[in-house]
């Protein structure tokens, strides 16, 4: 189960990156990165998963005294939350860039953004 999730995550990263580095259209490229980001998040969550345990929320189901034996690792979950938000921010920024590039250059083809080189 964990392994499957992990593998899926890695696969998503590779898939997303493949899109991101082969597609010329900026929007598709951004979608590629989004997929890769998702894969990354999946990997992170999987790493924190302990088989047979429950979410790290205390209460009636998991009294604080037995928490150590019942819950999964809360840290990756916290990290993933942060990572998701950051990924969102970057995606928004890239989209804004894409829009602006389209507005000024009239193209969404990344290979036509080669004015700066060498």
């Amino acid at each position: 189960m964990v392994y499957l999730a992990l593998a899926t995550g890695f696969a998503l990263i590779l898939l997303g990156l493949y899109g991101a580095i082969t597609r010329r259209n900026l929007l598709r490229l951004i979608v590629g990165f989004t997929v890769a980001d998702t894969g990354t998040h999946l990997v992170m969550v999987s790493v924190g998963y302990l088989p047979g345990r429950t979410a790290p929320i205390l209460g009636a189901a998991v009294p604080p005294e037995v928490a150590a034996l019942r819950i999964i690792d809360p840290v990756p979950q916290a990290l993933v939350l942060t990572a998701i938000v950051i990924g969102l921010g970057v995606t928004a920024l890239m989209l804004a860039y894409a829009w602006r590039i389209y507005a000024t250059r009239g193209t969404l083809d990344i290979s036509r953004l080669r004015q700066l080189k060498w």
Partner: protein, 231 residues
């Protein structure tokens, strides 16, 4: 073609790295020391029932502050980017008016959604959810309104003020932690309250509320900026 082949080769290489990671991975049999610490001490340290919330808001509060800042930053930059392009955007063709169903539905739903969002971030320290989730839900209300009436004018000022005031308050709470409790973003500046109740866990609900407002405002701001491009 060559390009694809190169991309393929590179990703295959990266895949090998991932394969090695995958093969070497073994789930922990028990909690590692950090997780163990959180499992055992969250309640006494912070009084929060949702350990993830405690980790996010308190233990890794600096991350979260940064995270909020990321959204703030993105909102600011997106506004900058899109505003900079005003001159280029010519008149756009008019739109079809939105349907009656959507109109009426949104009148009903928007307050509910907003209320739900507030619930989610106010209970973040007790149940799954929190400021980000709540904020996102609030922003979805915003989205709904935008869909209903793209031409509608929203008060940028209000959004910006909400965004900034909550951000400032967040920083102020962080500094208060230094002055009154154990360090920056220490939640124990407020009474711990009774475990499991809504007014517990020190400053966590307050911070989550601020985050919720801020995130909601920031998402709204981004959506607004994007949609105004469409006008």
């Amino acid at each position: 073609m060559i390009k694809r082949a190169i991309a393929f080769a590179l990703l295959a290489g990266l895949g090998l790295v991932f394969l090695a990671l995958w093969q070497g991975f073994e789930p922990d049999p028990s909690l590692n020391r950090s997780a163990l610490y959180y499992a055992e001490n969250t309640v006494t340290d912070t009084g929060a029932a949702n350990i993830v919330a405690a980790v996010i808001v308190t233990y890794r509060g600096l991350d979260t502050l940064g995270e909020v800042t990321v959204l703030f930053l993105t909102a600011a930059i997106v506004a900058m980017v899109l505003r900079g392009g005003l001159a280029d955007s010519g008149p756009r063709p008019g739109r079809w008016p939105t349907g009656e169903l959507l109109h009426t539905g949104s009148r009903l739903l928007v307050p509910l959604i907003a209320l739900f969002g507030a619930y989610v971030f106010l209970n973040g320290h007790l149940t799954p959810g929190g400021g980000f989730q709540g904020g996102a839900i609030i922003a979805s209300a915003m989205l709904l309104m935008l869909l209903t009436d793209p031409a509608r004018n929203f008060s940028h000022r209000l959004i910006a003020t909400t965004e900034s005031v909550s951000g400032l308050a967040y920083v102020a709470i962080g500094l208060a932690g230094m002055a009154l409790a154990g360090g920056f973003l220490d939640n124990r500046i407020l009474p711990m309250g009774e475990f499991g109740s809504i007014l517990s866990a020190g400053a966590i609900p307050l911070i989550y509320a601020l985050i919720g407002l801020k995130v909601g405002a920031e998402f709204s701001s981004i959506l607004l900026s994007l949609s105004e491009r469409e006008k």
